[in-house]
């Protein structure tokens, strides 16, 4: 997958808003996790989450997910006029359920007409519709909903469409914190009582987060001919299924390894060329173990630098793949591998070359980002530093 240029970035998370803010936060190994304040659920503990500061999106849109998506997408587009029939591809797990679940809990499936505005953006596909209207974009709209790999697949598909001739693709993902996922992950006993600690010996589980990230993709020659700054390139996409279990990964990370292998083949690079891996790294015992096994099977020692940025943002579900794509682009551009916030005592059973605390300044040419989801879905993206 050569020649797909990334020419715009936008991001909002519990760390703040904008690429520069996030790079600064990653350099400082700052965590954006704090006690949940967006809503309360009596009977459940108030756990640390990556919650977006309300001031950043106040009054932007009645739907929290749409507001987050608009904020990130505007940064990615940055006023550029997108001509021709391109693609808007969004990844999301729950779309506008932050509002529609309030309607349901009040009216329990009845019409509840006085509150009907809460239902207006329930369909996950509505986010892409609003984005397209905001930027007056015609053409194809797609919404990927493959759980926690949603936006990684949106980016991969967007890059594939650029290779097939589309002039541009606005790709990314969004998810907001909501009662359904908070209570749902609690019911699965996957939430950590403390800020999550990916790959740590004492990891307990994940911390939820919210946010959005978008990337503007263009054909590289076309982007350079219009004088656009090429921030990095998307070079590979691989997606596979474990076909094993709905909520547990394959114990040896078989599907994960196959996704990474497929992505590297798509990029036309050897595993030895990978300098940095932004791992899925949710901090659940089973996920981290399976991913570590897959990485160890694919990369010969010492292997690439590995970190998980979920210790900083929390697990933002459908937005995670796009956020971590942005982090890979920032890492490649800055020559800086971010460390894993919350990792203080690496699990000795996981054979990984962790980025040292505080991060590492190093020339990085190729980065790989993993996103795995419910249903045994695995997606891997490969990014390359932009040629000067």
């Amino acid at each position: 997958m050569r020649g797909v240029a990334i020419t715009g970035l936008g991001i909002v998370s519990g760390l703040g808003v904008g690429a520069a803010t996030h790079l600064t936060a990653l350099r400082a190994a700052r965590s954006g996790l704090r006690p949940l304040s967006l809503f309360s659920l009596p009977g459940l503990p108030v756990l640390p989450v990556g919650e977006v500061d309300e001031e950043l999106i106040r009054g932007q849109h009645p739907s929290r997910s749409v507001a987050l998506a608009l904020l990130a997408a505007r940064q990615a587009v940055a006023g550029h006029a997108l001509a021709g029939e391109g693609l808007v591809a969004v990844g999301t797990t729950t779309g506008g359920i932050q509002e529609s679940e309030q309607h349901y809990l009040r009216h329990r499936g009845q019409e509840g007409r006085p509150d009907r505005q809460l239902l207006k953006h329930h369909p996950a596909g509505a986010i892409a519709d609003v984005l397209a209207s905001e930027f007056a974009l015609g053409g194809e709209r797609q919404t990927f909903s493959t759980a926690c790999s949603s936006s990684a697949n949106a980016i991969g598909y967007g890059a594939a469409c650029i290779r097939q001739g589309k002039p541009w693709a606005l790709v990314g993902g969004v998810d907001s914190l909501c009662r359904l996922t908070y209570a749902g992950f609690h019911s699965l006993k996957l939430l950590s009582s403390e800020p999550c600690r990916p790959f740590d010996l004492h990891r307990q589980g994940l911390s939820l987060g919210e946010g959005a990230a978008f990337l503007l993709l263009e054909d590289e020659d076309q982007a350079r001919s219009r004088g656009a700054s090429v921030l990095a390139r998307v070079t590979g996409w691989g997606c596979t299924s474990d076909a094993h279990h709905m909520t547990a990964p394959h114990p040896e990370g078989r599907g994960a390894m196959e996704a990474m292998t497929a992505a590297l083949a798509d990029a036309g690079v050897e595993a030895s060329a990978v300098d940095y891996v932004n791992a899925h790294g949710t901090a659940t015992p089973a996920n981290d173990r399976a991913e570590a096994l897959a990485l160890a099977a694919l990369f010969k020692p010492p292997g690439p630098l590995v970190s998980s940025t979920k210790g900083s943002t929390g697990h933002t579900l459908g937005a995670a793949g796009a956020m971590e794509a942005v982090f890979c682009v920032l890492a490649l551009g800055a020559g800086f591998a971010p460390s894993t916030a919350g990792l203080t005592e690496p699990d000795p059973l996981l054979s990984l070359r962790h980025v040292p605390p505080g991060g590492l300044v190093a020339p990085l040419d190729v980065a790989l980002s993993n996103s795995f989801g419910f249903g045994g879905n695995n997606a891997t993206l490969v990014f390359a530093r932009a040629a000067p």
């Binding site: 459940l44 239902l119 207006k120 596909g125 892409a128 397209a132 053409g139 359904l180």
Partner: protein, 304 residues
């Protein structure tokens, strides 16, 4: 490239069933017992499309759904509302995820290829078809099973009712499956175009917006399956096709009702009709979605 249809599957309401799937066949596979109704509809359609195929471990799956497992979502929310937030049923949460049917299909079919779930309101089936064709075209798989399913629930019906728009929707449910391959076959998907128009989120595009793709897609084909999603859309489709000469035959597969996956059900119906017609026959299947989405898919009988 060639995109052939190698298998078709359908789970649709009967003519007298008021747009609801009243009966589903028993599934022989014991592991399918815990599936939700939505997942069972999807699996039955998938098995029908794969009836003539052996094991395909590299099969790619693309699942389309507009609303996913709303019944499971409601069950989980009912649980936390009635028993307390700490007592939501984990299985209902897992099943509420849009990707759950695709995950179940990959497990039950033993497929390790890509598995994607697409959601695009009322053109979710067409959205899945388009992505499936791209997977084939980019060489990521040589067989792609496209499945789409949506279920009728009282809360969804209440949601549509609460907005009183658009008028005269017949909310239905069902599932369809299309096995695609990059090898010669009797039927081909000649093209699948997805586009969208600036439009309020609870409205369809205007007749002026819909007309160009309608005309482009229906030119040179003998028949058109129009969506007739509402009275207003039916009028727009009739108006949009009025100047086409020679006038194509028009089909309205209204027995399927209106739902997010209905486009793929109509495609299966169109493919079945075309296959029963002489080689060279084609049908253009038109789809519309609230929020401005529009699709046009052309299926052709290419060889006996």
């Amino acid at each position: 490239m060639t995109v052939s249809i190698l298998g078709l599957g359908l789970v649709a309401p009967g003519v007298e069933d008021a747009f609801r799937v009243r009966t589903l066949p028993e599934l022989a596979d014991g592991s399918a017992k815990r599936l939700t109704r939505l997942e069972r509809m999807a699996l039955v359609a998938a098995q029908r499309a794969l009836a003539n195929e052996g094991e395909m471990p590299d099969l790619a799956l693309v699942f389309g759904t507009g609303y996913g497992a709303l019944a499971a979502t409601a069950e989980f929310l009912d649980g936390i509302a009635t028993r307390g937030a700490a007592f939501g049923r984990p299985i209902a949460f897992q099943q509420s995820v849009h990707h759950s049917p695709a995950g179940q299909l990959s497990i039950l079919l033993g497929s390790h290829g890509p598995a994607l779930t697409m959601t695009a309101r009322e053109v979710s089936g067409e959205s899945a078809l388009k992505v499936g064709m791209t997977l084939l075209d980019s060489g990521r798989s040589d067989r792609v099973l496209v499945v789409a399913a949506d279920e009728w629930t009282e809360s969804l019906a209440a949601g549509y009712r609460s907005f009183e728009c658009p008028q005269a929707l017949s909310l239905g449910e069902g599932a369809a499956a299309v096995l695609l391959g990059a090898v010669p076959g009797a039927l081909s998907v000649e093209r699948c175009t997805l586009t969208a128009h600036p439009c309020p989120v609870l409205r369809f595009a205007t007749r002026e917006q819909l007309r160009p793709l309608l005309l482009e897609g229906a030119s040179g084909v003998g028949s058109v399956s129009i969506s007739a999603a509402s009275d207003e859309v039916l009028k727009a489709e009739t108006w949009g096709l009025a100047d086409l000469l020679p006038a194509p035959a028009r089909f309205i597969d209204s027995d399927f009702g209106f739902h997010a996956s209905a486009g793929l059900l109509r495609l299966v119906a169109a493919a079945t009709r075309v296959q029963a017609s002489p080689v060279g026959s084609a049908c253009a299947v038109h789809g519309v979605a609230l929020g401005g989405g529009q699709s046009m898919t052309v299926v052709r009988h290419v060889r006996t």
